[in-house]
Symmetry: C2
Subunit: 339 residues, 2 copies
DNA sequence: CTGTTAGCGCTTTCAC
DNA sequence: GTGAAAGCGCTAACAG
């Protein structure tokens, strides 16, 4: 039923090999022959079968992407960066949601390898020994995006999460705050959760400020948890005067909790978020946030993966992208800062 | 290098056919034989090659998904619904961003067909003759998600956009408003743009209200455009007292524009959005919005596609999911409404 | 520059 | 229940 390379060959009066050459842009074809083939292709409406090609060439020009949740504001931005660069290099992506469940992640790795992807892009919170094991069984390269494994066994693209959290906290300290609260991510998330908390603690410590457990709440990255944590903070007799949230959604929750309590941001409570998702511009006051360049992380990770897939030389297997703080109205300008 | 079905056959002392049967769960295998094969698979670490399988069986258990932009709050939610159901039916998805550019859409359709996807899920604003043409050249089924073609040539899953916009406008009319503004989507988007505008116009007309062109702004679905449009509305001598925006992002922009102008929502301006994305809960006041069940649309579309792919009987090729208005604080409760 | 010839790893009749 | 054998549609040596 469908027209094959063989049909085209017959129609053009050449061999399959020649058709294959034309289709693949091999220069070793006489212009006239090429023209004949092209016209036969046109006439027959030939469409190369990528599956057959994949079997014969052992390349599928497809990469597997494991993502916790595409509908997340954070990850969908990453996914876009990944796909754009993939397209640029003629790859397609098979996208799979893992919900960060270990079992599902492992199963997805396996499925993707069965599908003979040329490479794997992995996003997720924690990289366990199981992941390393599963990935090692693959003959294809893997790159981690927005995360990394503890020993840097795998190539990865991230920012310096510790430093980013440190900087954010430091910023609040510099504004004269003594009681700075933090809404962390889940503590079983090494980078998004634990390390940012460590950065916060270190910054306090370096500034000689005490760590008050009452000012630390463990959130789950969702708006609601930021809202609740902050509402709770505000019931304390010694309330915090600033909050650092491990992501923007929770930070926005913090702003709203403050407003719901009749406080003004940043006058009564300064708030700083993390990631700088598009949402930060869609709140009043607009949210100051640590910029994690999601799109770029995805793009760089994919670019890195193409290098591995092409056996190109790679000097930096572990890439750290720069971060910075984008100042908006949820924090006071430095000049006018006071406690 | 990689272990093939042939290796397993030899190791287990059976034929490839038998291994194939075991792998595919064919019941016609003696339990003992099955056990031998399974153990050989285990021992060798055999992983079936889905590409070879795809070539031989002409099924890839992969569907192509064309999406305008995964990083969009609206579409990423749809994508999640699609992927979840795909997973449920053992399909993987190749996800491609089209940015709604016709040329890219057509090219993606072609690429996906080359990759021998078993089906196609298409999201986009306008379905042109070109699309129909390209899709027709495929021997695989296509389902449209959150859109449909003018003649319902293709199966689709949507809500009744006209009625949804009508209902939203009607709601504001019922609150006693005489000057109701609308921020539309792009007019070249038949459903998200044009039809919602038609619904708005009809509602006004049915209520005997005049259509004031000064109260209609054409936005682009982004926050900024809602912000600007509303700021503009508020400079009018006869300001609107209510706004209906064609999506939530613009509606949130409307809220902020009002607040920036020192007005209170909903007291001075009622705002109603469209889609009910997750963001509506993350603004103050929280946004009243027309619920378009994105996740469900994706899920139902994918489910429908599985039916076509399995040649199952389908009675409803064009499915309309119900919509409703979710009332929040950006509109006044009906009881206390006044002009 | 072009054609011949093996496969790629699996499914699928068709026999037995 | 099981095996033999013929492809699926293409690429990739290898010859010429």
């Amino acid at each position: 039923m469908p027209v094959t390379i063989y049909d085209v060959a017959r129609e053009a009066g050449v061999s399959m090999a020649t058709v294959s050459r034309v289709v693949n842009g091999n220069p070793n074809v006489k212009p006239l022959t090429r023209k004949k083939v092209l016209s036969a292709i046109e006439r027959l409406g030939y469409r190369p079968n990528a599956v057959a090609r994949g079997l014969a060439s052992k390349k599928t020009t497809t990469v597997g992407v494991i993502i916790p949740d595409v509908s997340s504001l954070f990850f969908s931005e990453l996914a876009r960066g990944i796909e754009d660069i993939a397209t640029m290099y003629k790859y397609n992506i098979i996208l799979c949601n893992s919900d960060q469940r270990l079992e599902k992640e492992l199963q997805l790795i396996n499925t993707l390898l069965e599908k003979q992807v040329d490479g794997l892009l992995f996003m997720g919170a924690e990289i366990k020994e199981d992941h390393l094991q599963a990935l090692k069984s693959a003959s294809v390269p893997t790159v981690l995006a927005a995360t990394r494994d503890a020993d840097n066994t795998l190539p990865s693209v991230t920012i310096d999460h510790f430093q980013a959290a440190y900087d954010a906290t430091r910023e609040l300290i510099d504004h004269g705050h003594k009681r700075i609260a933090m809404i962390t991510g889940p503590m079983n998330d090494p980078l998004g959760g634990l390390i940012r908390y460590e950065g916060y603690k270190r910054a306090l410590q370096d500034a000689g400020l005490p760590l008050d457990e009452a000012l630390v709440a463990h959130g789950n990255f969702f708006y609601e948890s930021g809202l609740k944590a902050t509402a709770q903070f505000l019931t304390l007799t010694e309330r915090p005067t600033a909050v650092f949230a491990a992501n923007d959604e929770m930070a926005i929750g913090a702003i709203h909790a403050a407003q719901d309590a009749g406080l003004q941001v940043p006058r009564d409570l300064e708030v700083i978020g993390h990631d700088n998702i598009r949402l930060v511009e869609m709140v009043r006051p607009r949210l100051t946030s640590v910029v994690q360049p999601m799109y770029d992380i995805g793009a760089v990770a994919m670019r890195l993966l193409t290098k591995y897939m092409n056996n190109e030389q790679v000097d930096e297997h572990v890439v750290l992208l720069p971060h910075r703080i984008e100042h908006r109205e949820s924090t006071r300008p430095r000049e006018t800062a006071d406690s």
